[in-house]
Symmetry: C2
């Protein structure tokens, strides 16, 4: 298994494009993305658990009921959520695209991101689709990745190649993160593609299993979006025997999927709104995985811990406090805590009580861009990682005036 260049077009038979069609007023910001497979794909998705669900999610869920799809269209600049007629706009978008690409509208996945509660005007989408479709290219993954961003500062793409039954397969993806990121079942707009042959049922199983350890362990601000969605398309062009049950091939596929999704999680967390640092809380020694996950997610969600990391302040009391209120059944008096970064490791708490440490060294460790918060519960053999970012002035600035 190795990381390779590219994103949603890294796998065989996928083309993509991203353009500015006019949903956003700023002409320099792309706002419409398209991914297309040469052949129909097995498709799977997971969606937000928020009771408020964006209209595109409702339409996509309907279209993916048969487990196949061939194209994905995504707009940024408007979430098409909590407005009148949003579902019609999403369906019409799929129909217009299907016409341009000569597909069945039910083979189109649709997604939107942006402000909630405003009508989405179909006009720029209708006017933009011909150019969007005409520009499809195997080199268009980067433009698509750019067109789905909102307050993100960098494109998020990753791909991996792996071998199944002697055939080289590729799995790649792109993501949009930044704010309103605290997924519960999925996260804000992740699109994965693979040329690996996988049945729709097993694809759904793989994705549903993976997100529990990846996107559901990610938080920027504790707010679970209304439009979270992760989709994966598998077109089978790698030529491997279709994976249709659990077994060795499934295990390899799960590893490839997890490699890609963990990379995207880290990219989303590190590029969280206003973030200057990527935080990874690594909980080990848990009696079961659920305990490890609960504790790890609570730490990276704590506003106080996040602000302390921004200030490079080794205030570990906030870490143990967040574990204490997390709901995880842990023995506080066994917990060890350390901070780790490229500048070294500093132990700050042993058996639930503080130990002397060099403030100077701690400052150096916490001044790096990527920080691991290491928590050992010393109560078993299970572990979990969770990803987040620091809480900064810029997060407040961005969200104090998001709509203008």
């Amino acid at each position: 298994m190795e990381l390779i260049q590219g994103g949603v077009c890294a796998a065989k038979g996928f083309t993509a494009n991203g353009i500015h069609c006019g949903i956003r007023k700023n002409h320099t910001k792309k706002d419409l993305a398209l991914i297309k497979s040469k052949v129909p794909c097995a498709a799977a998705a997971v969606y937000t658990t928020n009771l408020v669900k964006g209209a595109p999610l409702i339409v996509t869920k309907r279209h993916l009921a048969n487990g196949t799809a061939q194209a994905v269209i995504v707009n940024s600049g408007n979430a098409n959520t909590c407005n009148a007629g949003g579902e019609n706009v999403a369906e019409e978008t799929c129909s217009l695209l299907a016409q341009a690409l000569k597909l069945d509208p039910r083979d189109v996945v649709v997604a939107s991101t942006g402000v909630i509660g405003q009508p989405l005007d179909l006009t720029p989408i209708r006017d933009g689709i011909p150019a969007l479709a005409a520009g499809l290219s195997p080199a268009g993954g980067g433009d698509a990745a750019e067109a789905i961003l909102t307050t993100d500062t960098v494109k998020k793409e990753v791909a991996v190649s792996f071998e199944i039954g002697g055939k080289t397969c590729v799995l790649g993806g792109m993501a949009k993160g930044s704010g309103m990121i605290h997924p519960n079942m999925a996260t804000m707009l992740v699109f994965l593609t693979t040329d690996c042959a996988v049945s729709a049922a097993i694809l759904q199983k793989a994705l549903s299993k993976d997100v529990q350890k990846t996107f559901n362990m990610l938080s920027v601000d504790g707010d679970t979006s209304t439009n979270d969605m992760v989709t994966i398309l598998a077109n089978g062009l790698a030529g491997n025997e279709e994976i249709s049950s659990e077994g060795d091939a499934f295990t390899v596929f799960m590893r490839a999927l997890n490699t890609v999704t963990v990379h995207l999680c880290r990219m989303i967390a590190g590029d969280g709104e206003g973030a200057t640092k990527l935080l990874t809380c690594k909980v080990t020694g848990a009696k079961d995985e659920e305990t490890a996950k609960t504790a790890a997610k609570s730490v990276i969600t704590s506003s106080l811990t996040k602000a302390a990391m921004f200030g490079a302040d080794a205030n570990w009391g906030r870490v143990i406090c967040a574990i204490g209120y997390s709901g995880a059944a842990v023995d506080i008096h066994r917990i060890d805590i350390a901070f780790r970064s490229p500048a070294g490791t500093v132990a700050v708490c042993e058996n639930g009580a503080g130990v002397p440490f060099s403030e100077e060294k701690a400052k150096a460790v916490l001044s790096e861009k990527e920080i691991d918060i290491l928590v050992d519960l010393k109560d078993g053999g299970c572990q979990a990682d969770a990803w987040g970012c620091d809480l900064t002035y810029d997060y407040v600035k961005i969200n104090g005036d998001y709509r203008t």
Copy 2:
């Protein structure tokens, strides 16, 4: 029932004091507070549900097992939590105070607030107790309220007078809030006193019932502290017949208690770390109270909503999003949302979809210091309030460098 001047000394027979004893390095900041009743009191308390519990809470719980207390000692500057020997320091503090006041150490309540994980030096407390006890006065409530503050910017005191069986009773209190405020059972350091005669059992019942609607509906930053504690002392000096069961007198007492605790909640929320605005989310039309509480608390806890309120941005999508992920079983398509302040009311969402509104008026409404977020679920007759504050640059600043 009427609001009167004062705090913990407003009720008959209570004296208090607050001094600088040297736990804090800053000589201008008081760090040791004392409340004393002339006679033994019925006493009740509620504590944090955080698995990490400050040593003073463990000691106080032990001392209140018999339902009586006569004095309360509180230090700021160090939470006496997650350190070695913290329980001994807390017990020793009670013993030293009991000696000075000629009380049984078990009649002393002890509490601490400040940084977690550092040893609490007994020396300044031992050296300070004589002056602390000597300075007890019916006018000392303000000094005590000052000595328990950490990053709070104002003292939090309130008192109310009411009548039971022809006797005038008084109930007053003081609180310390600011950061790490997201109580679950209680909140960070609230001390209530009353001269009303109430049995310990009924006092505990009243307090436990009240906190569900007051302190448990308050959040500054989503972090549940390790040292949350609300205590109430009732010395009976008002001369009313002791309230020892539910009934009319109990109802009046509950109203008095609620009036005081709601005031303290609003003061804590409005003075949250870095806060510029007090937010109240008022949920009405819920099918049951639990639904109303879950929705209201989710809204005032949402970082995105809090940042939008800081920026006076009427981004109501964040309000409905927070209701959607709260876990409350609501019909999203019935929800009405409006913002209200002294500058007026602006309706922004009806039946789950946006309605046109004047951005200018919304800006005026949201530029006030106290903002109500009105949510009507139109699904029943139950309601709940929750209190919070905006998320500001100063919250990040304060918590990026808390320990220095």
